[in-house]
């Protein structure tokens, strides 16, 4: 089997790390080229017009994987009300119509997720013995956690660095180094090293940066191509970004701690209760709850990201303005028509508004 995967942020690093540890045998992993405008064009060309952006981008990724010879494609599937549950049905047909002979393996991300991942790993690794899978999995997770930790630091440094773009440079080197690390020890030392280097980037200590929370639909929040590097753009404007969603958090809770009865969203769901009483699929419930939590924690504003026509986020968008805990919210909706300069103009206006509010309150 030649297994192709779609992209979502740095998720491919997990798959790569697994293969790195377990070796390529009969089953080969094909990571499509990083999401590019070509990917988007392919996705848009072959998708139903009104499909959402994550559908189009992942379809583009999978087509590019097929071009490299993939015959087995992996895609996430959720049982729930979001369109994600329909991706596989539809993409399978599109790819077949394009003349590729590929079948899908689905990765369940809601029910049966643990079993689904173990099964997928067995497929990916040519039925390697379980202890080896576990050690490879730990290695991959090490990389994931290292990357997410470095990201947290870079969010803070970007906002206050003196020489704009320096932190980003270090961050890019860090991603490369973590990707190339070959042992758990190397991952750890690389992470330590780069966090140190990020903190050494010369910073302006007099600035108290504007703080903004990022919430919304998980794919556009996590994928920098889909959200047009919104975190970096906010950093350039001197904004410190905080976000709860991350791949490492998903793995930690959804694959392990949830089964022990820990609900990572408990506080957020309770905060959402007065306004939205139930899960509406996707990340809609969490978006509403997080607005309340960020407002309570004294953040200056909230940036809410969603693909255009995303159903759960439209529910959140309709409810958010009525919460008692009030902070300014900027909703950015992404589709293939969206252009980066337009987004930047909106961000600039939003950040100006947040600064003005701060000044008026005299803090």
């Amino acid at each position: 089997m030649r297994i192709g995967i779609p992209h979502c942020g740095h998720a491919y690093i997990i798959a790569e790390a697994l293969v790195q540890k377990l070796g390529n045998g009969e089953n080969e992993l094909i990571v499509p080229p990083p999401t590019s405008h070509r990917t988007l064009d392919l996705g848009v060309k072959y998708s139903p017009v009104e499909a959402c952006l994550p559908f189009k981008l992942t379809l583009g990724n999978l087509i590019e994987a097929c071009e490299l010879g993939a015959d087995t494609l992996i895609h996430a599937r959720g049982t729930g009300v979001c369109r994600l549950g329909y991706y596989v049905k539809e993409q399978e047909q599109i790819i077949r119509d394009l003349g590729y002979d590929a079948h899908f393996l689905t990765l369940d991300v809601s029910q049966n997720r643990f079993r689904s991942i173990i099964r997928l790993m067995k497929d990916l690794t040519n039925d390697a013995p379980l202890p080896r899978i576990i050690s490879a999995f730990r290695f991959a997770m090490g990389k994931l956690f290292a990357l997410d930790n470095i990201e947290k630091v870079v969010h803070k440094v970007r906002a206050v660095e003196l020489e704009k773009g320096r932190a980003n440079q270090v961050y890019r080197e860090a991603v490369k180094a973590i990707g190339e690390a070959r042992t758990v020890g190397e991952v750890k030392s690389a992470a330590k090293e780069y966090i140190k280097r990020l903190n050494q980037v010369s910073q302006d200590p007099t600035v108290d940066p504007v703080k903004v929370g990022i919430v919304g639909e998980v794919y556009v929040v996590l994928d920098p191509f889909a959200n047009m590097d919104i975190e970096m753009e906010l950093g350039k404007l001197g904004v410190e970004v905080e976000r709860t969603l991350s791949l490492s958090r998903w793995v930690k809770y959804r694959l392990f701690l949830n089964y022990l009865g820990v609900n990572e969203w408990k506080e957020v769901h309770e905060a959402a209760m007065p306004y939205l009483k139930r899960n509406v699929g996707g990340d809609g419930w969490e978006s509403v709850g997080e607005k309340v939590v960020y407002a309570r924690n004294g953040y200056d504003g909230l940036v809410h990201l969603a693909p255009f026509t995303c159903m759960p986020e439209i529910v959140a968008q309709n409810i958010m303005p009525s919460t008692k805990e009030d902070i300014p919210v900027l909703t950015v909706l992404y589709d293939e028509q969206m252009a980066r300069p337009g987004m930047i103009t909106r961000l600039e206006a939003f950040v100006d508004l947040l600064r003005f509010r701060r000044k008026r309150r005299g803090t």
């Binding site: 499909a51 729930g80 939205l276 009483k277 009525s322």
Partner: protein, 327 residues
């Protein structure tokens, strides 16, 4: 008498007879909002976020029109009717969205309808709601049974007599002075119209699509005119286990009427509909395999009546020509 308001939108077309029976059995009076009009549209449109789809915007307009006319408003949170098939997020968030956007709304009764959690759970949700009207558990139970019966009778009436929900509902509303339409059995072209009931039968959204087609001499077939089981079978054949609750009405009805060699299929959807954006393509694909003409109408608040009529006429011309050539 306690008055319960029901907005004439979304699930109304599917479940009104059941709801009416239930609440009347508990001694409440039903207040239904008028058919969609400009004022309702403007009111709903002014409250909701622009990206919201048209039927949901209209729902808010209907809710606003019921303010001060009822003591409770009934807006169930529809999650699933079993089979692990789900409603769209906006149906689940409907009571909470209405509360946020129409703060002047009376108390909202919002039982969560989720058959995946079992009948017992569903009954519990309904019972909790029924307690607003009666403390007698057996009376609530009886009301539920009657409602179920009314719902089955409504479905059966539509499939047996080949009439649309509007025709069937008109009979229920007869006391409002409306005339009852006879089922249409003209021998001309037969065209299947597939889509959500709240799109096809809301004349404000669909620009009187059904009656327009009928006036053009077309025999219109809609999902409700087929037996539910037949739709389910067709749906499973084409798309496997369903993911959406509406799949029988779209994929099922599409496949069913394609197999029945209807002269043409018109699918009607509103712009921005998540489930439809995925499902329609499957039917379109299937129609090209069957070589049956397929027209997709994507409607929104800016759709002009003139443009719609032109497209319908062109489509019917094409269907007629194809029939002549193939005959």
């Amino acid at each position: 008498m306690i008055r319960v308001g029901i907005p004439r939108a979304l699930s109304y077309y599917q479940y009104f007879p059941a709801w009416k029976t239930f609440f009347e059995a508990l001694g409440a009076e039903m207040v239904v909002s008028p058919p969609t009009n400009k004022a309702i549209f403007t009111a709903g449109n002014s409250r909701a976020v622009a990206e919201t789809c048209l039927p949901v915007k209209l729902f808010f307009g209907h809710a606003i029109s019921l303010v001060n006319k009822c003591d409770y408003m009934f807006i169930p949170a529809m999650r699933s009717l079993g089979q692990k098939a789900y409603y769209c997020s906006k149906f689940i968030g409907l009571p909470d969205m209405t509360r946020a956007l129409v703060p002047e709304c009376p108390l909202i009764l919002d039982p969560e309808i989720d058959l995946n959690k079992g009948r017992r759970n569903l009954y519990h949700a309904i019972y909790n709601m029924g307690r607003h009207f009666s403390s007698d558990e057996s009376q609530i139970k009886k009301a539920v049974e009657q409602a179920e019966k009314a719902h089955l009778a409504y479905q059966k009436e539509m499939s047996a007599r080949k009439i649309t929900p509007i025709q069937a509902l008109d009979e229920i509303h007869k006391d409002e002075g409306k005339s009852y339409l006879e089922p249409d059995i003209s021998p001309g072209l037969s065209i299947a119209v597939i889509g959500h009931q709240y799109v096809i039968y809301d004349d404000y959204i669909s620009h009187r699509l059904i009656s327009r087609l009928q006036a053009m001499g077309v025999r219109v077939l809609t999902p409700e005119m087929a037996e539910q089981e037949a739709l389910d079978t067709a749906m499973t054949r084409l798309g496997g286990a369903p993911h959406w609750s509406f799949e029988a009405d779209i994929i099922g009805a599409g496949e069913y009427y394609l197999k029945a060699k209807t002269d043409g299929i018109i699918s009607v959807a509103v712009f921005g509909c998540g489930p439809d954006s995925m499902m329609i393509d499957m039917v379109r694909h299937r129609a090209s395999e069957f070589r049956i003409p397929f027209l997709h109408l994507s409607l929104d608040e800016h759709t002009s009546e003139g443009g719609l009529v032109t497209r319908l006429e062109a489509f019917l011309d094409m269907v007629k020509r194809k029939r002549r050539v193939c005959a």
